[in-house]
């Protein structure tokens, strides 16, 4: 019997050693045959779902496959894309784009105004003021005229959103995009569902041939696995959203570079101003004073910065720097609550008024680690001024339903509605009585926003931004907690990658990037 056990143990040992040795040798040999092509491996957190430039299609790869009429450079300045120039009519209802000549799609056909017409007519989701598009005309092969139902000043920004990427008319079948044919720096050559997407460089790219020959996009949903894949060399570049806690470990790794810059992302808590006790401005202001943004930002990490304006500084000229949000001052918070009539009559640590305790529910997305940290910190901080917060962690569909139906008391989420340089859509979504969600509305805001929706004067448009932000800040319907940087983490062999400010163009800098071995 002993001999049998011995044999079995030896067999197991041999198998294990064999597998390890085989893997090692295999790795060694594959390293010898160095590929002549420059292949970059990147990771995305979710799979693509189709070929359209909208997020439900190519997600973040849209900016590599398609280009827009107007592009945004790394600093969010509008630069000519597929259109070399453009004009708005004096009444703001007609926008004319002059297309670049000689631009080829991935299938060799040339870009002309018919492609642009087809793209805009079949766009399932139209961003911002593109909703008011009435018709598209093509006076000649390289000119496109967009006609709108009302004066629209923001169209230059709206067509610069990656969702409005130009698709070749040959890619459409029954109004749906069935092939990924764009003008972008890379072509999509293979898609293995749930696993990876393979991109090849577009040698005829109008802005210059990319240096990288091939990009393999691996789908790695788990954030820890994504970080380890980078450390193990399975991928060379990842985007850091959702990874902020792991960044400190990556910083210590000598083979890894982290590049970051101020991004558009902003975490906010919306307060439902239509219910008691949040309909009292003093109470809302008190909550704002009671939250310690510095402490929360340092919890999240060095890529989070405490928020003192309603919008991230990444929005440049659109941010009204004269309007600053309340700084941490718990004494002031307590004073305001007392003025609003909230006293701790029963001495239980929680303020009350007319027998009702000051209890609020904070809804947040339970799957987001950062939001969970923030929610718990906020609960602690509000307790110190006598507000009892109950945490309501829900999943994404439930959160968005609560948001859209305004079925919440306090709601923690990222800012939505601003995928590009002009944040106008943010106000219309949240603070307009004819808008959709209506977190807070007022006569003055309505007046300002009505004017903004038809104003075509650039100076006045900017002025209105400032006035709207001032009015919003005065009424404290939202509490901005921190802005987070756009950070891209890469192996040191990736060079010349300059981080782009926006989320949807995270991978666009790969056009100019290179790999050195």
């Amino acid at each position: 019997m002993r001999k049998t056990y011995l044999t079995i143990t030896i067999c197991i040992a041999v198998i294990i050693v064999g597998v390890i040795a085989g893997a090692f040798i295999g790795g060694f040999f594959s390293g010898i045959t160095t590929p002549k092509k420059k292949i970059l491996k990147i990771a995305m957190d979710q799979d693509i779902r189709g070929y359209s430039p909208q997020p439900g299609g190519l997600w973040q790869l849209g900016s590599l496959i398609y280009d827009c009429l107007i592009e945004l450079d790394g600093n969010w300045n509008q630069v000519p894309g597929l259109a070399k120039s453009w004009e708005m009519s004096s009444d703001g209802k007609v926008w004319t784009f002059h297309l670049r000549e000689g631009v080829k799609f991935h299938d060799g056909t040339e870009l002309d105004s018919e492609d642009v017409k087809m793209t805009f007519e079949h766009m399932p989701y139209r961003f911002g003021n593109l909703v008011f598009l009435e018709k598209v005309e093509c006076p000649d092969k390289y000119t496109v005229k967009l006609y709108f139902k009302k004066p629209c000043y923001t169209i230059a920004s709206d067509v610069a959103v990656t969702f409005s990427g130009i698709v070749s008319s040959t890619a459409f079948k029954n109004g749906k995009i069935v092939k990924p044919i764009g003008t972008g720096p890379f072509k999509l050559v293979k898609w293995v569902k749930g696993e990876k997407v393979v991109l090849e460089k577009n040698k005829d790219y109008w802005a210059g041939e990319p240096k990288i020959d091939e990009i393999i996009v691996r789908i790695i949903p788990d954030p820890d696995a994504r970080v380890m894949a980078l450390e193990a060399g399975e991928v060379d570049l990842i985007y850091c959203r959702g990874l902020l806690p792991a960044m400190s470990r990556l910083e210590e790794n000598p083979n890894i570079i982290i590049k970051s810059r101020a991004g558009q992302g902003n975490n906010v808590i919306y307060l439902n101003t239509f219910i008691e006790p949040l309909n009292d401005t003093k109470v809302r202001k008190a909550i704002a004073y009671a939250i310690d943004k510095e402490a929360i930002s340092s919890l999240v990490g060095k890529y989070a910065h405490p928020a003192y304006y309603i919008l991230s500084p990444a929005f440049g000229k659109y941010v009204n720097k004269n309007v600053t949000l309340p700084e941490y001052d718990p004494e002031e918070a307590k004073k305001l609550l007392a003025e609003a009539g909230w006293k701790d009559a029963d001495r239980d640590g929680i303020l009350d008024k007319n027998g009702k305790p000051l209890r609020l529910k904070l809804t947040f997305q339970v799957m987001k680690l950062e939001h969970k940290l923030v929610a718990e910190a906020v609960k602690d901080q509000l307790k110190k001024v006598g507000i009892d917060v109950t945490l309501d962690g829900v999943d994404y569909p439930a959160l968005s339903k609560k948001y859209y139906k305004r079925n919440f008391e306090m709601l923690l989420k990222d800012q939505w509605f601003i995928p590009h340089d002009n944040p106008y859509n943010y106000y219309f979504a949240n603070y307009y009585s004819k808008g959709f969600i209506k977190v807070f509305t007022s006569e003055r805001l309505d007046k300002l926003l009505s004017e903004m929706s038809t104003c075509v004067n650039p100076k006045r448009h900017l002025q209105l931004h400032y006035l709207v932000q001032e009015e919003i800040a005065k009424n404290v319907p939202e509490i901005d907690i921190y802005y987070y940087d756009t950070a891209v983490v890469m192996n040191k062999k990736v060079v010349n990658f300059i981080v782009h400010q926006g989320f949807w163009r995270t991978f666009k800098p790969l056009v100019k990037a290179d790999i050195v071995t």
Partner: protein, 316 residues
């Protein structure tokens, strides 16, 4: 025997429809607006605020109709074998599941083999050798495998074999070598219960009179253990193995997430987050069917191995 199998097949069908109905009701009752969630997935968050898109979507998929009408339509389609289209990708549910089958099946088979090997070898040794260094070592492994979560073991293996010593890959299913780490993770974790079951059942059998008789007859120890004891201990062991095989086929989400394995489990989880009803129901039906079929096969196998079951010894 044939009557038994046919009866079981009909029962299986009823069970599958029952489970699917149950899930259908729960999905419709769960909070979260399907239309808006799916539109946010298909286009972007902002799009879900556009009423026009939302209304069009609801009309297209009959979400405004009363619940019983929706259920009736879905049941009729199911009987015809039509599992519908994914609300997010607009591809047939069957294609989505089929695309993930190679990965799911290969992982299931290899993990099962590893689990079987570990459970059988260690279960027998534990039952036979009641003390000594080997027993302690294997007992430690048994406790370890039953307490370590798959997520932790998976990350640990990645850390050691992929990050520190760059021996093995761990992202996706690009080569047979990619199977190694995830199947070891699953194999180890899933070997815990069969191991214990086999151990206990063998210990019980070893106490029996007929084993004592076999030893008294002078049969060699190997024959006593491998032929007589093992065969009589198989039934509970096989039942547990059957349950695990079913579990492997319906999706091991945690391991799939850690190793970015393109399997059915991850598909189901994403579908739930998106409230993608047709896809959820399709995956559930696939999982339930796998479970039922594997259970049926296991029961038949048990009947074959143990004549007492076959001959109705356990029925009045």
């Amino acid at each position: 025997m044939l009557r038994y199998v046919v009866k079981r097949l009909i029962l299986t069908l009823l069970v599958i429809v029952g489970i699917a109905t149950f899930i259908f009701i729960f999905l419709k009752v769960a909070p979260g607006d399907v239309a808006r969630t799916i539109i946010a997935e298909k286009y972007c968050n902002e799009a879900a605020a556009q009423e026009g898109l939302v209304i069009k979507f609801r009309e297209k998929h009959g979400l405004e109709l009363p619940l019983y009408v929706q259920y009736y339509r879905w049941l009729i389609a199911l009987i015809k074998g039509d599992l519908g289209y994914s609300l997010v990708t607009d591809t047939p549910v069957i294609y989505e599941i089929a695309a993930r089958l190679p990965a799911t099946i290969s992982l299931a088979v290899v993990s099962m083999l590893i689990s079987l090997f570990l459970a059988l070898s260690m279960g027998i040794i534990l039952a036979v050798r009641r003390k000594g260094l080997l027993y302690q070592f294997i007992n430690f492994f048994a406790i370890f495998s039953s307490s370590v979560p798959a997520y932790v073991l998976g990350l640990l293996l990645i850390l050691v074999f992929s990050v520190t010593f760059k021996f093995l890959p761990f992202v996706g299913f690009e080569s047979p070598l990619h199977l190694v780490l995830p199947s070891i993770t699953l194999g180890v974790v899933l070997s815990a219960r069969p191991l214990k079951t086999l151990h206990l059942s063998m210990v019980e059998v070893l106490e029996q009179d007929y084993i004592r008789l076999a030893k008294a007859k002078g049969l060699p120890e190997r024959l006593v253990i491998l032929k007589h004891t093992l065969r009589n201990s198989m039934v509970p062991f096989l039942s547990i193995i059957g349950l695990e095989a079913g579990h492997l086929m319906s999706g091991v989400v945690v391991v799939e997430t850690v190793f970015s394995w393109p399997g059915v489990g991850k598909l189901l989880m994403d579908a739930v987050f998106n409230r993608d009803y047709p896809l959820i129901l399709g995956c559930v039906i696939f999982g339930a069917t796998s479970y039922c079929i594997i259970n049926l096969l296991t029961d038949i196998l048990c009947a074959v191995i143990d004549p007492r079951i076959r001959l109705g010894f356990y029925q009045k």
